[in-house]
């Protein structure tokens, strides 16, 4: 490490000027003069056979160039999916949810394309609609997927590809010890049953892509978080080598997991393949809602304690509604199974989860990824147990919380955080234990997620002939601040001015491989790759200086943007480059590779932890909940940019508040009742707590650069449980279902025969 510390500083975001002037170019801002616009014809049925598609009226509209349907895909492999390739680009023979793409109308103008889409006539024969889990699991339920599909990426071992004779999409479990015996011994057994809603991430830039398919291959500009994963899907669809598929993700207008994996890119690419012209498909927010959502969950947990409050055993049964296609549902379920029981010493455990296909929008990744669902059950259960045991809920948690290094899951990395200390920070900031006023209550919670950040990352650092630096990474900037943080790391490692560092991101044709941008991985894994690339570049500069200036390599070191040979000379990087090449040109490239070896051999690379607390007040007449105080602890090891960490923590906890209080996609059978931002209400400015404390804790306990761990999801995960507990304490009854809308709270307050205890 050289130079003044550019890490650990709240430096302004590298992209902020472009974002306040309107110059930042998002995918949706990319156009080509000769491009066509694609408008999607969507299914008006939830489950039906497509009898016919009449394109004639659409094709008669001036400016409509073509109409593509599933049957027109000919030689292409017509499906995508990184786990199981079950998702048709355009429905083939049958639609599985309302809003599913059935045809793509190509028009010279956006207006023509949409007029054409309005004019396409699709004739359906209805099938029984499996609108919810119960219906889908009935003995005589029809199968949404009677056939099997090829597996996607072989790296995902969790995917089930064997045929089943029911609508269970995925099943996962984890077990150790002997829970039957442990429950026998338990003095107190507490059962909690909760429901978590279906959610829409609402990244404000709806999915869009501009694709060119021609003899050169495919070139797509899109809203993908994981351009390399999208590349793989497109290569299979079009039978192309990976090198012929270029996927670029410029600045993303939000992601939060919802832009993980392939979404809109096949549609635009099929349009271009069909027409021979570049095609842009830009969805509306309503269409984005019909593209992906987060799983709802129904979870029952039973925990056994001894009389002193030590956990003896826990058993979880999880049911998730995963919608019409696999997408990433398999992994979300697997993670929910791993994340529901939390960072407690649990000698005996059994978790069983099933995700069920229904005729609803396919669920996929969303910030927290199974953790918010599982944590609501696990943490509310701890609160109810505390009440039953007569132990303060903070004390009960601290009695059972794992110490730093403790084993959450056998065979996985030990806990790299001090959660007991984090709980103390949250509760003392909340003033936990002080007398609460009428109709107010506090709640708090803790979570630990095995970060799904598989350590495969590559980065390049190019030291240019003028001494400025290009950092090449396949990691995507979607608002989280990777462009800034990676620049800070590179500037620090090379000892150069931050203003001389430029980050180039997310282009499968020019930036090095990055597996994904998700699971809060970028700071840790890409940060390490950038660090290693910098070291590689410095090593090369030292060798070149030694060779050029005739110094012994052992005498040379680098500092402050120069190569130094004490007593002999000092040469700025630029001079080393110019002199070595001898042509006043050239550059030096350092390469950084990260894989699961050394410190990263043990998975997960880090535990993404979260500790939060809230104080709420409830309007006793209406049941409306206001959040008066929010406390978040970002236990990140080392904050390379503290302001960005606080921004992630408040943003994540605000989305958690949304799920806790307002947000829910409501289905009536196969019909989505609220596919718009008027009826799907996300938090607004006036919903925010009067007092907010975002606390960053740095204990240097991560494997990432300078001891950093990932951030961005942790403070969402325990929000649902914390809010539910706070509302429960305010009204004297434990909630069982999110979101806690005013009506739901009012009903709970006025329900007969329910005590505060969840056991009744």
């Amino acid at each position: 490490m050289n130079g003044s510390p550019t890490v650990g500083q709240s430096l302004p975001r590298a992209d902020s000027r472009a974002k306040v002037t309107g110059e930042a170019r998002y995918a949706v801002d990319h156009v080509l003069a000769d491009m066509l616009h694609g408008a999607v014809v969507r299914s008006t049925r939830a489950h039906a056979i497509i009898e016919s598609i009449d394109k004639a009226a659409a094709l008669a509209i001036p400016g409509v160039v073509g109409v593509v349907a599933g049957a027109d895909l000919g030689s292409l492999f017509p499906r995508f999916g990184h786990l199981i390739a079950d998702h048709p680009v355009l429905a083939i023979d049958k639609v599985n949810y309302m809003g599913e793409p059935v045809a793509l109308v190509l028009g010279e103008t956006l207006h023509a394309a949409h007029d054409g889409a309005d004019a396409v006539i699709v004739d359906y024969s209805d099938l029984p609609v499996l609108g919810d889990i119960a219906t889908a699991l009935e003995d005589d339920a029809v199968l949404i997927h009677p056939e099997t599909y090829p597996a996607g990426d072989a790296a995902f071992e969790e995917a089930i590809t064997e045929p089943r004779n029911d609508n269970v999409a995925h099943e996962a479990s984890i077990e150790w010890g002997d829970i039957a015996a442990a429950f026998e011994e338990a003095d107190v057994v507490v059962t909690t049953s909760v429901k978590y809603p279906k959610l829409y991430a609402y990244a404000m830039e709806p999915y869009n892509a501009l694709s060119i398919v021609n003899d050169e291959g495919i070139d797509v500009v899109t809203t993908a978080q994981h351009p390399f994963m999208v590349r793989d899907d497109l290569a299979r669809m079009f039978s192309l080598p990976l090198a012929k598929v270029r996927v670029r993700s410029p600045v993303l207008g939000g992601g939060y997991g919802s832009k993980s994996y392939t979404k809109i890119e096949p549609l635009a690419s099929v349009g271009s393949w069909y027409s021979g012209r570049p095609v842009k498909v830009a969805l509306s927010a309503e269409e984005a809602i019909y593209t992906t959502r987060a799983d709802s969950a129904h979870i029952t947990v039973r925990s056994g304690f001894d009389s002193a409050g030590k956990l003896l055993a826990r058993e979880f049964e999880i049911l998730m509604d995963t919608g019409a296609y696999t997408d990433n549902g398999t992994l979300v379920l697997a993670k929910c199974v791993n994340r529901c029981f939390g960072p407690y010493e649990t000698p005996n455990l059994k978790v069983h989860g099933r995700a069920v296909f229904t005729n609803t929008v396919a669920s996929s990744s969303y910030r927290g990824f199974g953790a918010p669902q599982g944590n609501l059950a696990g943490e509310l259960n701890m609160d109810q147990a505390a009440e039953r045991l007569g132990i303060d809920p903070l004390e009960l948690r601290k009695l059972n919380i794992l110490p730093p290094g403790g084993t959450i899951v056998p065979g996985k990395r030990g806990l790299d955080a001090d959660l007991g200390a984090d709980l103390d920070i949250v509760t003392s900031t909340l003033d936990w234990g002080s007398e609460s006023q009428h109709m107010t209550g506090s709640g708090f919670g803790v979570s630990a997620s095995d970060a799904g950040a598989y350590p495969v990352s590559t980065a390049q650092v190019r030291v240019l002939v003028d001494g400025s630096v290009l950092v090449m990474t396949g990691a995507t900037e979607m608002g989280q601040g990777s462009k800034t943080v990676l620049a800070q790391i590179a500037a620090h490692e090379l000892g150069v001015d931050l203003a001389k560092v430029q980050i180039v991101q997310s282009d499968t044709g020019s930036t090095p491989y990055e597996r994904t941008t998700g699971a809060s991985r970028t700071t840790v894994l890409v940060g390490l790759a950038v660090q290693r690339a910098c070291q590689d570049a410095l090593g090369k500069l030292e060798s070149m200086a030694a060779e050029t200036f005739g110094v012994s390599p052992t005498e040379i070191k680098t500092a402050e943007g120069t190569v130094v040979a004490p007593g002999t000379g000092e040469w700025p990087y630029a001079e080393v480059v110019r002199s070595w090449f001898g042509a006043r040109s050239g550059e030096v490239t350092g390469v950084g590779l990260v894989r699961a070896t050394g410190e990263l051999e043990m998975l997960p690379p880090f535990w993404e932890v979260g500790t939060v607390g809230v104080t709420v007040s409830v309007d006793c007449d209406t049941g409306r909940v206001s959040v008066d105080h929010l406390v978040t602890v970002g236990d990140v090891g080392f904050a390379i940019n503290p302001t960005l960490v606080e921004g992630q923590d408040l943003g994540a906890s605000t989305q958690g508040l949304g799920a806790a209080l307002y947000e829910e996609l409501i289905y009536d059978g196969g019909q989505l009742e609220n596919p718009n931002l008027v009826e799907y209400r996300v938090p607004h400015a006036t919903d925010m707590p009067a007092r907010i404390d975002t606390i960053v804790v740095e204990r240097g306990d991560g494997v990432g650069p300078y001891g950093a761990k990932g951030a961005g999801e942790g403070t969402l995960n325990p929000m649902g449980g914390a809010v539910a507990a706070a509302v429960g304490r305010a009204i004297g009854r434990w909630p069982t279902e999110l979101p806690l809308t005013a009506e739901r709270v009012w009903l709970l307050m006025n329900e007969e025969g329910r005590g505060l205890n969840g056991e009744d």
């Binding site: 709240s10 302004p12 975001r13 992209d15 902020s16 000027r17 472009a18 974002k19 306040v20 002037t21 309107g22 110059e23 930042a24 170019r25 998002y26 949706v28 801002d29 156009v31 956006l110 207006h111 991430a201 609402y202 990244a203 404000m204 830039e205 709806p206 600045v251 993303l252 207008g253 939000g254 992601g255 939060y256 509306s284 927010a285 309503e286 979607m478 608002g479 989280q480 601040g481 302001t643 960005l644 921004g647 408040l650 943003g651 906890s653 605000t654 989305q655 718009n676 931002l677 008027v678 996300v682 938090p683 607004h684 400015a685 006036t686 925010m688 907010i692």
Partner: protein, 162 residues
């Protein structure tokens, strides 16, 4: 379906006169983005509740997704690209940078435009008044606190420099 008419308009956008024909159904957002290439103005909810497409027309805030380009005839329009003067950022833009009020940045143009309208009408708003006025704009990244703090900071600086 009737024949669509094309309407001739002349409007001043960020200080530059623009003349041309627009389809009757073209929205202000389509006109700014597709005809003028002013892509700083975004669209999202298309139902007038997210505020991403906010622009000023004759100084008043308008949802560009729900206003006709034809109605711009004879008006003065300010978009996010027009907030900086000769490359000098406005107080609001500068404060948004300093307070880290933009994360993904997709909502930022709309917030800047609405905050510009607010401070023109009310140079010294309370935090509550800021939140109330900006309640018709959604930000999904920040949790709003940095945005409200940025507006407060800009208001203070504008009053001091006035």
């Amino acid at each position: 379906m009737t024949a669509e008419s094309a309407i001739e308009i002349t409007t001043f956008v960020n200080g530059t006169e623009q003349s041309g024909y627009v389809p009757a159904r073209a929205t202000v957002a389509e006109y700014l983005r597709d005809d003028l290439g002013l892509t700083g103005t975004k669209t999202s909810c298309e139902m007038e509740v997210c505020g991403v497409c906010s622009v000023l027309v004759d100084g008043r805030p308008v949802s560009a997704c729900a206003a006709l380009a034809a109605d711009l005839d004879g008006t003065t329009v300010t978009t996010v690209e027009g907030l900086a003067e000769e490359g000098r950022l406005s107080h609001l833009q500068q404060a948004f940078i300093e307070k880290s009020a933009a994360q993904c940045g997709f909502c930022t143009p709309g917030f800047l435009i609405m905050a510009t309208a607010l401070l023109a009408a009310n140079p010294d708003p309370t935090r509550h008044e800021i939140a109330e006025y900006l309640d018709g704009n959604i930000c999904r990244c920040t949790g709003y606190r940095p945005i409200i703090e940025a507006v407060e900071l800009a208001a203070t600086r504008m009053r001091e420099s006035a």
